[in-house]
Amino acid sequence: MAVAESIVANDQDTGQSELALRLARTWRQPGGFWGWFCNTHHTDIGIRFMVTAFIFFLLGGMLAAMIRLQLIRPENSLMGPDLYNQVFTMHGSTMIFLFAVPLMFQGFGVYVVPLMCGARNIAFPRLNAFCYYLYVGGALVLWGGFLTNTGPDVGWFAYVPLSGPSYSPGHRADIWSQMITFTEVSALGVAICIATTILRYRAPGMTLNRMPILLWEKLVISMAVIFAMPAVMIASGLLLLDRLVGTHFFNPAEGGDVLLYQHLFWFFGHPEVYIIFLPGAAIISTLVECFSRRRIFGYTPIVVSVVATGFLGFSVWVHHMFATGLPQLSESFFTAASLMIVIPTGTQFFCWVATIWYGRLQLRLPMLWCFGFFFVFLIGGLSGVMLASVPVDLQVHDTYFVVAHFHYVLIGGALFPMFAGIYFWFPKMAGRMPSETLGKWHFWLFFIGFNITFFTLHFLGLRGMTRRIYTYSPDMHWQGLNVLASSGVVFMTAGLLVFLANVFHSMRVGAIAGNNPWGDAGLEWSMSSPPPPYNFLHVPTVSGRDPLWEDPPDQAIVVGLRDDIRETLVTHSLDAEPQHKDEDPGPSIWPFLTALSVSAAFVGSIFTAWAVPIGAVPVIATLIGWLWPRGESPTPLPTGESWLR
């Protein structure tokens, strides 16, 4: 059906509130204790992902503070080597697997993507809810292990042979392996939901070249997740098999190979960097456009850059293995590939700068964090170019220089945009404005503290301080710089406390936000804040890249979707022409029960391989319960005439 052909003048401007009531009744999520576990609406699940991931960010941050406290002086006895090993492993694993991806990709994506698409819910909302519970299961397994002195102590990447059966008896490495399974299955499921939503649930008229850049980035990230995360599941799965049932994948004595693990891990690990960074870049593109009050400069180059980053991310993994004695030719290839990443990233940078340059900049709170991102990420990118060179890499390998680099990249590329995004979409989520004053205090405390801590680490690295050492001798003369680095934590902690105070204060007494407090162009700002359970009173259509800025007042709205069932509109992947209607499956307890049974099987398999066949029984039972058709079908029997074949 062509959009233009089907548009007719609407002379019925009454009955809006009745429609809103009917839709609210139809799309209502159940309340109460059990209702909480049945909820499948993307705004609720998205916020849960974000809140849960932020709690783990705070816990991971506390571990970082413990590390800095331990290193503040030589021969410190605050922590022994065993606890220190657990603490730095937990810090890395928590930040990557329980915070960065779940918040930046899953949380933001699940919340924002359907709203930006003009959809009433995410595709496969039950799968989405299931993924949230599974993520929580993985987080509880990891932290449950740590709190019972069974925390992983083999680094966030769990290299063999250290993590193998010979050198890591007990269940610490097993807990790490299964945490990977939990969180990666969760991320993969959400990637399917987000990619399908973007490709099939876009508002009519939102062709691919009218898609907001954030949606492009989420689509590319989803693809990166789909093709990268199986690698870490294979790596951790084979490690678990080596440990649990005596296979020999990583045992050189029986034909196995330890470097195989590194290849598998980093084939995931480097795309993971972009899985974490691209959501940040997506937020920056959105905010720079909004606060420059003009269309983004270089839409096409940015989109091409994002897609290129997604591809290039898979061709650089070996630069994490330069110190393993690989052939020089492959080192040269991967150096070149790593340097190439600068091109798409630089293109995005220049486009952002040009947008600001040619726009009318409003330096509101979220934009301040964008500028923090520019500064911090640029430094991280520059040290990254240095590290792409094999001779430099070999010199500073496993030193604090590398620690400084990746914190500049990850905190710059994810944390600063995250705070920018939280402040930006907070009014939509909470219905109230955050305090700009407290937000600026938060920014400056965090920005100053971050640079004190991590810029200093460059110098510690150049002076030879290696990573993962629980203490050092006074003869090394590292104390001064360590004291300086640790002092930055005070500022960062103060900044985070101000942030929490801002959130709780603003949720209660912040100024009422209204629909679109920032005057942004995205569809997510067209409904009330927070969004009603049906998101859009009328599913919108769009005629440009910036709908709320460009679309005429008589821009068509979609009618003809039933309001007595949760009917959604499915459009064409490329040109977003309406194709057919679908039915949202609605709230259900089964995703939660299935997540429980899957969690039980995963946890059991830490201890015995029999947990897999035995645990499969409740998993299958709950899956059948989930998928067995119930209720009235929207497609009565016998049918067939109007099916889209």
Partner: protein, 207 residues
Amino acid sequence: MASLNEPIRTPLTLDVSALPSVAFGHRNTTWLANVFYMAIEGMMFALMFATYFYLRTRSTEWPPGHLPPALRYGAANAAIFLVSIIPAWLVRKRAPEGDRRAVRNGLLFLALFALAATLLRAFEFTTLNCRWTDDAYSSTVWVLIGIHSGHLLTELIETIVLLLISFTPKMEGTRLADAAINSDYWYFVVITGLMVDVLIYGTTRFL
């Protein structure tokens, strides 16, 4: 950006009430999700194949000190896989036509083939001429065929569930589309099964 001076105009409407509520093939959202799922699983197989060949470069003899897996059950299973494409194809073709009877029959035969393949697979494990604890080669063979068996079992259960649904009035438009998607997944199981066969029966003999 719209000017504040513009008169307020009544929005136009795009009426979608006549659009179908059931879609088959690539237009179906579950079809797309199934493609993504197969991409994930396909990536896992690809990485395991890569692991197999990587480990092979670490050994002067391949298979190292073992006879290649016996062909008996593997070849029989490959034949079953190939024949099973027929009922899968039938379901996929007749589901969009709303032919519930043909779909039910197709699902019945598909379930029987899947059951036969699963049983043969159990015997296949006994003729691999190695145990997973022997060495890295044996571990890889067992895990490759084990992962595929997981897919086979999943598909068997899914087909049986769809078969049970097909005996109820619930086998309407959306479920018929699900049955067609199930056939797509069966194709994936067949293709990956044949690839695993080529790897563990073929490369151990001919490469």
